[in-house]
């Protein structure tokens, strides 16, 4: 349980970081907060020969307004910074709240939003929020900059669209529509400070009782965080009565591929997703909880 020797590169620019990653090949890793990477190194799951830090690249932790009314959040902004920024609280309270639910205070103040996403953990708290918000991921690699919709970013069990020597530089988070109702439900039945068994992000825009926009995404249930597209379809354009909400909950339970682990069985996860989609949507429809 000791860190093996490695080379540490403190990058001054994103291009420096990309070059250092290319130079290191398969044995190079990006480090920012280190809250996921360092424990994996201590357990010898990963043994990188080179760590390329992007934590001190000027501007990479910035949180700035976008002209569209949304936000641009730098990849190395910490969960603490995101959850406390007035700008985020005003323009994207769902994301601010999800970041406030990450792990424990120590992890929140060291771990970064970009690191959280690049780790590819299914039970990520910000991931479902960003999926529900339809954020865009900005990456920078040897071929220059590119963008990936976050809905295409998570590709499998601890796998992402991040390519070799790429760095997540920022996220574009669209503004939440005026009057949007939202909730992030982090359900941890075992202990409060645990990974989400169901981490459900929801945003609804209603016209009276009719649902104009439904955005639902969940972490912790399957191999990676996912949008609950069929549940969204079941709600959009519909009156939010009990039967519609139940149909959406069933659709959500039907479209996920849950996994067994020590926290709970796949079947239990599926059943609990059904319960929480029903409760969260019903709550938002009634104007409770946001």
């Amino acid at each position: 349980m000791i860190l093996r020797p490695f080379e540490y590169v403190e990058s001054q620019t994103v291009d420096d970081a990309v070059a250092a990653l290319r130079g290191g090949g398969d044995d190079a890793r990006v480090i920012a907060g280190g809250t996921a990477l360092v424990p994996l190194m201590k357990h010898a799951v990963l043994r990188p020969a080179r760590l390329v830090s992007i934590a001190r690249v000027p501007g990479l932790a910035d949180i700035a307004p976008a002209t569209s009314g949304g936000l641009r959040i730098g990849g190395v902004a910490t969960h603490w910074a995101v959850s406390h920024a007035t700008l985020v609280r005003e323009r994207s309270p769902l994301l601010a709240y999800a970041c406030a639910r990450v792990a424990s205070p120590t992890v929140r103040s060291m771990g970064t939003l970009g690191g959280n996403l690049c780790y590819g953990e299914s039970a990520s708290d910000p991931a479902p929020a960003l999926l529900a918000l339809r954020a865009t991921v900005r990456l920078h690699g040897p071929g220059g900059a590119r963008t990936v919709p976050i809905t295409e970013f998570f590709t499998g069990f601890y796998e992402t669209a991040l390519q070799e020597a790429e760095v997540l530089t920022s996220l574009d988070v669209p503004a939440m529509p005026a009057g949007a109702r939202w909730r992030y439900l982090k359900w941890t039945p075992r202990a409060q400070e645990d990974k989400a068994l169901v981490g459900l992000a929801a945003m609804l825009v209603l016209d009276g009782h009719r649902c104009r926009v439904a955005r639902l995404a969940v972490g912790g249930v399957g191999a990676s965080p996912v949008v609950l597209a069929r549940a969204e379809q079941a709600l959009e354009g519909q009156e939010l009565d009990e039967a519609t909400i139940a149909r959406a909950a069933d659709a959500a339970a039907g479209e996920v591929e849950p996994m067994d682990d020590l926290q709970g069985s796949a079947e239990y996860r599926r059943d609990m997703l059904r319960v929480w989609v029903r409760r969260v949507v019903a709550g938002l429809a009634e104007g409770r909880a946001s």
Partner: protein, 775 residues
């Protein structure tokens, strides 16, 4: 009792300031210049023959100074049955077993050397379940157990069963259980099980060993029992006890874990003996703690209870299989002491108990806060609620009808006195409003329920403890004992007693840290025994100092000692308060210069102990004192998810007399909260012999945000022999928690979980099954 000044008052712990400021010296803080780094190699395979173990490549790593393996020490150790090698010899019996250790100039070299040790194993069929282990034809984990050396222990007859994995069978027989069942109006029987739980103390195991030029082996180690470590190491290494010196500093949590010989101690000692005059330090990491140390023994208990229609208990029977893992360690005492308490704090005329200590190929269990009582009360106290339900009685009324009181006879045949359990039960019931109506449905839709449980627990008996109290020239006092401060507040309590007896301010008293070459023998700071045993020692040693002071002062001022008294920190002539001498003046004038007054205290509980009958488990005094506790819980269950939320928890324990009431509250509260962890979330998960969750990411313990509102109640029933009537308080409140919570769950939603922990998914499944049954 005369009025006391310091005893019985809530005082700030004497170690608080240093701990809060980060300055307290724990075992992990001890460092020496030029220390070698020691590391251990775990087998990683649960049951295997070691075919070949090759260390030559490791020895060539630059900086490596010593490598030890099993054959470096051919003897075995064990508290009762000597079944455990220092490091595995020939055979590996659990995956975390240490097969080799290395000492090197730095951590990197030590780690590299460990990785270069090559071991060839021939895998053997493993046994990973207690019932499989006792089934006929099960692979034998210790085929040679009948030939092992066994210690002679008063009141414990070791009786391993030949050609089996059973190393001890405890029996209790009282009345005639078989005849009694037919006299009962109701007989119920259930089987319950409990899980392997980790101690999760903050400070890991750490040992620094030095073998010096005079042939003395010194260990600085984080242990709750320095003399036990000394005795066991001396025996294992065949060294005289005065050449094995064990020094202990502040211990960062123990709970029973840091006792006896975990692999870390012999490994460090053997390495140090290969490189004389170099300190070798081994620090276990969290994975080592999970894999190579110990935990709470898993159990499978079948409990049967027979009652009259009015609730009177007629007969009770328990059969308990205790999974001990690979080595017996303190197992026999856990099985004996917890089994004879398994039927609960009740009058039971007909009783039968069988407790079996069973080897498996998993890490050895150890003594753990509550020593088996949480496991057995999980069965017994849930069954009490079932009996009450089937009789149509209140669970509280059923307990009231049968609970032990003054002059009642226990199942071991002891006439009981100063029995605080009834008061504990009544006060927790009142605290959670057990007999008041309950709003059954919470605003959230969750269902509410309440549960109670109560227990009794014994302490290690017989034992002996010794200590000194030393009065210095300036009137300050050193308390010289081997009591270990592992966070329980023992040093504050002992300082309070010395301050009280010698009439000096608390801040003039200091408890020294244990050092087996200096501080006298004490078995261990475990079993909630320190306040009682060491408290008596310090009280007696202080009285000895007082007597000597009066004699010395009498000689100095030529007054008969009986005309002198100790008052306000001075020796004064009775009726002539102006004729007083400070302690320093007495010493200076008696010796014509500096000196000291040294008082001695001894406590020996053997004369009060009645040796337990090995066939019937009968003893008129098996324990020098009894601990009693009760828990009351109000909880909510979400019927759609099974989620369990504890709203309130009231805990009560009988302190006899609270020497430091604030510390008693902290001990009871901490113990009960630890019980919630066991009840709700803590579980070491296995795939066969492989541990699946050896990290705090996957093994959860309660954090501050998980703790409900708690009410803590100190009951003071006194004790005829204890110091000021005090007895132990550290353990009992953990024990009733799982059962109380199980009873609250049943009260809320009508399902019973019989295997710990009570996870939401289990409640959910039980609710689903119940729903399907009803159609």
């Amino acid at each position: 009792m005369a009025d006391t000044v310091v005893v019985g008052k809530s005082v700030v712990r004497t170690d608080a300031a240093a701990k809060v400021r980060g300055g307290a010296m724990y075992g992990v803080d001890v460092r020496f210049g030029g220390m070698l780094v020691g590391k251990t190699l775990r087998a990683g395979i649960p049951h295997a023959r070691i075919v070949n173990l090759e260390t030559s490549a490791a020895a060539k790593v630059p900086g490596v100074r010593a490598i030890v393996t099993g054959p470096d020490c051919s003897r075995r150790h064990g508290l009762f049955q000597k079944d455990q090698p220092a490091l595995a010899i020939d055979r590996v019996r659990y995956a975390g077993e240490v097969v080799a250790a290395v000492a090197a100039e730095d951590e990197e070299a030590a780690q590299e050397a460990i990785e270069r040790i090559a071991v060839d194993y021939e895998e053997l069929p493993g046994v990973f379940d207690v019932m499989e282990a006792v089934a006929p034809g099960a692979p034998l984990i210790h085929p040679d157990q009948m030939s092992y050396e066994r210690a002679q222990v008063t009141g414990l007859v070791l009786n391993p069963v030949p050609d089996s994995n059973i190393s001890y069978h405890f029996k209790l027989r009282r009345g005639d259980v078989e005849a009694a069942w037919s006299q009962c109006d109701l007989v119920v029987e259930d089987t319950f099980s409990t899980q392997f739980v980790q101690y999760a103390h903050l400070e890991p195991h750490v040992t620094i060993a030095l073998y010096d030029a005079t042939g003395v082996l010194t260990l600085w180690t984080s242990t709750m029992g320095p003399h036990t470590v000394r005795d066991m190491l001396a025996d294992l290494l065949q060294l005289p006890q005065q050449r094995v010196r064990v020094i202990t500093n502040m211990v960062g949590g123990g709970y029973g874990s840091k006792m006896y010989l975990r692999a870390i101690n012999p490994a460090a000692a053997l390495l140090a003996m290969k490189v004389p005059n170099r300190h070798v330090r081994i620090l276990f990491d969290r994975e080592d703690e999970f894999l190579s140390c110990a935990g709470r023994l898993p159990t499978r208990t079948t409990m049967k209870t027979g009652v009259k229609q009015d609730g009177t208990l007629v007969a009770r029977q328990s059969t308990i299989y205790w999974e001990k893992g690979a080595y017996a360690d303190i197992g026999a005492v856990i099985v004996r002491n917890a089994s004879y308490c398994s039927l609960g704090p009740y009058r039971i005329p007909n009783a039968r108990i069988d407790g079996y200590l069973v080897y498996t190929n998993r890490q050895p269990g150890g003594g753990f806060r509550g020593l088996g009582i949480p496991q057995v009360s999980w069965a017994g106290e849930q069954q009490m609620d079932r009996v009450a339900r089937e009789l149509g009685m209140s669970p509280l009324a059923l307990r009231r009808r049968n609970i032990l009181g003054e002059d009642d006879v226990s199942v071991t045949g002891e006439r009981m006195h100063r029995v605080g359990v009834g008061e504990c039960l009544e006060r927790v019931a009142a605290a959670i409003g057990y007999e008041r109506p309950l709003e059954r449905t919470a605003p959230s839709g969750a269902r509410r329920g309440r549960g109670l449980a109560c227990i009794l627990k014994s302490t290690l008996t017989p034992t002996a403890s010794f200590g000194f109290v030393k009065l210095n020239n300036d009137g300050s006092v050193d308390v010289i004992t081997s009591a270990v401060e592992h966070g329980q507040g023992a040093h504050t309590v002992l300082a309070q007693i010395a301050a009280e007896e010698l009439s000096v301010p608390l801040d003039k008293v200091r408890c020294v840290m244990p050092d087996t070459s200096v501080t006298p023998f004490d078995r261990s700071s475990t079993s909630s025994r320190t306040t009682f045993h060491m408290g008596l020692v310090v009280k007696e040693a202080s009285a000895d100092v007082r007597r000597q002071l009066l004699d010395m002062a009498g000689a100095v001022i030529e007054v008969h000692p009986r005309d002198l008294e100790i008052r306000d920190g001075a020796v004064a002539v009775r009726g002539a308060p102006d004729r007083a001498l400070s302690y320093g003046q007495v010493i200076a004038r008696f010796y014509g210069g500096p000196g000291t007054v040294l008082g001695k205290g001894v406590v020996n509980t053997k004369p009060l102990y009645d040796t337990m009958n090995a066939e019937t488990g009968q003893s008129s005094r098996p324990s020098i004192f009894w601990m009693y506790a009760a828990i009351g819980i109000e909880a909510e269950v979400d019927p759609d998810t099974g989620q369990l939320t504890v709203g309130r928890m009231a805990s009560a324990a009988d302190a006899g007399k609270a020497i430091n009431p604030l510390a008693c509250v902290q001990q009871i509260d901490g113990s009960a909260i630890m019980g919630l962890g066991m009840a709700m979330m803590e579980e070491v998960a296995f795939d066969g012999g492989r541990t699946l969750n050896p990290t705090f990411l996957d093994y959860k313990i309660p954090t501050t945000v998980d703790v409900p509102d708690t009410d803590v109640i100190i009951v003071e029933s006194g004790h005829d022999e204890g110091p000021y009537g005090a007895k132990g308080i550290g353990e009992p409140a953990i024990a009733p928690v799982p059962a109380a919570l199980g009873n609250a769950v049943y009260d809320a939603v009508g399902v019973q979980v019989k295997d710990l922990p009570i996870r939401a998914e289990k409640i959910y499944r039980a609710l689903r099954a119940k729903g399907e049954e009803r159609g």
